[in-house]
């Protein structure tokens, strides 16, 4: 596995998706809208990466999906956190904090 930039971003996006889903099950558009909203517009999710990320998380067993009707009676795929996904949020959050620390350490030295 490489340690290039896309990996970092991918890890970040995964964490953001998981964190968002802790609130309630949501469909893809809802997730991207919510992230934008929470980050006060600072983070604009590249929607192209969103669906592969959802797919990846589902494969890892951290989220599960099913087709439901929206309040406007439209069919949409909803994503929800699984039990292990809930555990993963904690671990990934800790990982992220550690990563930030590490990067800051390096930035301080250099």
């Amino acid at each position: 596995m490489g340690t290039d930039q896309s990996d970092v971003l991918r890890g970040t996006l995964d964490l953001l998706i998981l964190k968002t889903l802790t609130l309630e099950p949501m469909h893809g558009w809802g997730i991207s809208a919510r992230i934008q909203q929470f980050s006060r517009g600072l983070l604009d999710v590249n929607q192209g990466s969103l669906y592969p990320a959802l797919q990846r998380l589902e494969q890892r067993g951290w989220i599960a999906s099913d087709w439901r009707m929206t309040e406007n009676n439209r069919r949409a795929k909803y994503y929800a956190l699984t039990a292990s996904g809930r555990r993963a949020v904690g671990a990934e959050t800790a990982n992220w904090r550690r990563y930030v620390q590490a990067v800051e350490l390096i930035l301080d030295i250099a």
Partner: protein, 884 residues
């Protein structure tokens, strides 16, 4: 549960790619609709709203593809990435990679070589059609201690007629005879096999030219016919394509060559040149000798669909009937049946199995060593792994990475091992004793390749598991904080290291004990006194032909031959006898001593015919009485010399000299009573590790034989006498050929060849195993003590003596070695029982071997521990304390 869910999703994607694609399309469409609606709410025109939504999404097609990649191809890319990474890592540590690959090459190479042998000998089917239906029928006689005996012709024919489950039953004489081909330049010797006519049809072989023999050819008829093997046809008949129908003069008689067999058919031996009909006289099948002489190796072919059990039951019914009908010959004569393949593998199976076990252990030790190298390396890469974990690499991914690294190593090792193994099979073919492995079947084939792949992957798993698991148990934050030292190096690595050392020592002990037992056994055999002096002796055989049709002519020839041979310059003594040394006893018979109850012996007695000079020439001691002299002639009182084994077992406490014996179980008025005139020392006639038989000797003049072995003693090199010997025979009778010319010492060595072969190989493997194990012990202890450098520095700073520090390291080595020795020793006590059959005068739990081997292992392993201990004790406190 969640793993399962992920797996199900992936499985669904795998089997329903379009369904998943459609679902994704629906999802994207829904997303774009919502995005468009949002843009509309922001006041855009419908066209702009839609365009912007798509633009923001960033390329629908790209998403679809990426989505699909995640679903299916991720693992392939990951794997390729893993492999690249592994190669990079290995290139960064060339010493480690080389050590690991060399170790694996040795382990896998040894396995390839031995497995090739097992494959060629045990696993591969015989080259006959429907070979699983071919059975060998042997005669079994508990009274005479017969096992796997050749059959009497009359019994064989009765089985053939009486068992309906048999398609056919045929027979051949075990081993090859020597026939002299004349009329084509110099007389040539042909290796002839004597067979029944249905030999070829039963085995399922067809002639390449002309015809094979048929059942009718079994009987002595008008013209005599032979079939050539491909080898015989090429070597002796210049591959003449028009040979069929021509005649050849063999042993003075004229044969018609009726066929040539294809190259693949060479049975019962690879060296066969021709097959002659056994040529029984049809009018004499009722003679008692036809049921009394047991010399045919019987092979039956089961009918398609017949089972071995059912045919066996039918066979027993026939055997029981024969016991009743012919009590004189068959009262105790049983029969047994086994697949031909099993029969031919015979006693080769056990040595090969033991060799395979030994190389298996060797590979395990190699794996343990490589595992240790990788573990130490993994521990050294602590910080790197922690960083990757922190950057979001999955733990499963790290484990896979570690395993990929192992796999890359083992694949390189496997490829080198295959090459080494292939080379080693050539060496095995060269080194093997005659007839143990069938050379032309030997080599690397698909089974061997499958085996290599299997052991390669398996080894990767075995030695990769420790570093991989090690990766799993890490906590990245700890490692980052501690800078990759301390606790991480503590228990985890050390425990794995301990396990590795203990298992290596145990395996090495097993291997070395096995080899040690064989070495001891071999030395015991070597020390056995043959009963005669083989040094400076040359032996060669001569088979007389049809010109010698009376006893007088035979004896006259023998006397003349012996006299001329003795006149060869350099020859100090010469004699003739009826057997080749170390080649068993030709004839055996019943016997009874005069005045004893009948039928009380129940064992076979060897009987040989020798010229008077035999005992002096061979330096066989005369213990009592006399040997033969000129007074023992044809027509004078029949006399015998007996050997010590016979005197001890049947004339204990008596003087055998002057007693009379007959060579019948129950004497008849026609029986010849021989007077015992002397007792000589016993000789090992079969092999040094086979006890001497009970034997009687006839005077050649009273019992002439057409096959004789000439023995020459010299003070120089016996082989140098060969040309002179050939010259003597040529002058005496140019129609006779000399065969099997060999120094008797070489014959003795050949009789030990199999034991020597097995002992040498096991010994070599054990030495490699021992070395690898010692390197392993050294590696683990060196690593552990390197990590305790700071501790040692502190101890020394606090005033510890160098000896105390050394002892700290050595103590650990001693502890682990002792545990390994105990574990290995307990297993060895049971495992070596499998070797009992291969050992001579050595018990499988021979204490000398066990203790000796354990001491050697303990000593070497303490030496291995001493080096790191020495380094540790020289730790400079100031440097050690500052060490990372």
């Amino acid at each position: 549960m969640t793993l399962l869910a992920g797996f199900v999703a992936r499985l669904r994607a795998l089997f329903h790619p379009t369904a998943t694609d459609n679902a994704l399309n629906d999802e994207i469409r829904f997303h774009l609709e919502l995005e468009t609606e949002k843009n509309l709410r922001l006041g855009m025109s419908p066209a702009d709203a839609r365009r912007l939504a798509v633009a923001h999404f960033g390329g629908v097609q790209r998403v679809r593809e990426e989505h699909r990649d995640v679903r299916r191809l991720q693992w392939i890319e990951d794997f390729a990435g893993d492999v690249r990474f592994a190669l990079r890592t290995l290139r960064r540590t060339p010493a480690l990679a080389t050590a690991a690959i060399v170790t694996l090459t040795l382990g896998i190479g040894a396995n390839v070589a031995i497995f090739s042998a097992v494959n060629a000998v045990v696993l591969r089917p015989l080259p006959f059609p429907a070979q699983d239906r071919l059975m060998v029928i042997t005669e079994e006689n508990p009274e005479k201690h017969w096992h796997l005996q050749t059959a009497a012709p009359a019994n064989l024919l009765d089985w053939r007629a009486g068992v309906s489950d048999f398609e056919d039953v045929t027979g051949y004489v075990d081993g090859l005879g020597r026939s002299t081909l004349t009329g084509r330049g110099e007389p040539q010797l042909l290796n002839a096999s004597y067979v029944m006519g249905n030999f070829f049809s039963t085995l399922g072989a067809r002639a390449a030219l002309g015809r094979a023999l048929t059942f009718d050819d079994t009987w002595r008829g008008g013209s005599r016919v032979i079939v050539l093997s491909d080898r015989g046809w090429r070597e002796h008949f210049a591959a003449d394509p028009s040979i069929v129908g021509k005649s050849a003069t063999i042993d003075g008689a004229t044969f018609e060559i009726v066929g040539v067999m294809p190259p693949g058919f060479a049975y019962p031996r690879d060296e066969v040149d021709c097959w002659e009909s056994i040529g029984w006289d049809k009018t004499k099948t009722g003679d008692v000798s036809f049921r009394r002489a047991h010399y045919m190796r019987a092979v039956a072919r089961l009918k398609a669909g017949a089972t071995q059990a059912h045919a066996g039951a039918q066979l027993q019914a026939v055997v029981d009937r024969l016991k009743r009908e012919y009590p004189a010959t068959n009262k105790f004569m049983g029969a047994a049946m086994m697949p031909l393949h099993d029969y031919l593998i015979g006693d080769t199976r056990l040595p090969l199995f033991i060799l395979l076990t030994s190389v298996g252990f060797l590979l395990l030790i190699a794996c343990a060593n490589v595992g240790n190298l990788l573990l130490v390396q993994a521990a050294g890469r602590e910080r790197e792994a922690a960083l990757r974990l922190a950057l979001g690499a999955g733990r499963a991914r790290l484990i896979r990475q570690a395993l990929t690294e192992s796999l890359v190593l083992s694949i390189v090792g496997g490829a080198c091992g295959l090459a080494l193994g292939w080379a080693a099979t050539r060496a095995l073919v060269y080194l093997q004793p005659r007839d143990m492995l069938r050379v032309r079947d030997f080599g690397v084939d698909s089974s061997v390749l499958v085996y290599v792949v299997a052991i390669t992957v398996l080894s990767a798993l075995i030695f990769g598991i420790a570093p991989a698991l090690w990766t799993r148990h890490r906590n990245p934050s700890d490692s980052l904080k501690e800078g990759g030292r301390g606790a991480a190096h503590g228990r985890g690595v050390r425990r794995w290291g301990d396990i590795l050392v203990v298992s290596e020592v145990a395996l090495a002990l097993l291997m070395t004990v096995g080899a040690g037992l064989l070495v001891r056994s071999f030395l015991q055999v070597r020390r056995v006194d043959a009963g005669f002096d083989p040094r400076g002796l040359l032996s060669a055989s001569v088979e007389l032909n049809a010109r010698y049709d009376t006893s007088t002519k035979v004896t006259a020839f023998i006397n003349a031959f012996e006299e001329r041979v003795r006149a060869i310059p350099g020859v100090t003594a010469a004699a003739l006898e009826s057997n080749t040394p170390f080649n068993g006893t030709g004839y055996t018979s019943d016997f009874i001593a005069y005045g004893r109850p009948e039928g009380g012996y129940g064992t076979e007695i060897g009987n040989r015919s020798v010229t008077p000079n035999y005992f002096a020439t061979m330096k066989v001691p005369v213990l009592r009485g006399r040997t033969f002299g000129p007074e023992d002639r044809a027509g004078s009182t029949p006399v015998l010399v007996i050997n010590e084994a016979l005197a001890d077992s049947y004339f204990k406490g008596q003087d055998p000299i002057g007693q009379r014996i007959a060579l019948d179980k129950v004497p008849t008025p026609k029986s010849t009573w021989y007077t015992i005139v002397g007792v000589v020392g016993s000789e090992h006639t079969d092999a040094l590790d086979v006890a001497p038989r009970i034997e009687v000797f006839h005077a050649e003049s009273q019992e002439p034989r057409e096959f004789m072995v000439v023995l020459l003693r010299t003070n120089g090199d016996p082989a140098a006498l060969t040309p002179a010997l050939r010259g003597v025979l040529r002058d005496l009778d140019p129609t006779l050929a000399l065969a099997e010319v060999a120094p008797v010492e070489r014959l003795r060595d050949q009789s030990l060849a199999r034991a020597r072969f097995l002992t040498t190989l096991l010994f070599a493997f054990a030495v490699i195993g021992l070395l690898l194990a010692i390197v392993g012990v050294y590696g683990v202890l060196a690593h552990v003590s390197r990590n305790r450098t700071r501790e040692m520095g502190i101890r020394i700073a606090l005033g510890a003596q160098a000896g105390q520090v050394r002892w700290l390291v050595v103590r650990q080595g001693v502890r682990l070695t002792v545990i390994g020795l105990v574990v290995g020793g307990v297993v060895a006590l049971f495992a070596t029982r499998a070797m009992t059959k291969l050992l001579f005068n050595v018990a499988p739990n021979d204490p000398l071997t066990m203790v000796g081997v354990a001491l050697i292992l303990a000593a070497t392993s303490i030496c291995a521990a001493w080096i790191p201990a020495l380094k540790a004790s020289r730790a400079d406190p100031s440097v050690a304390l500052r060490a990372d």
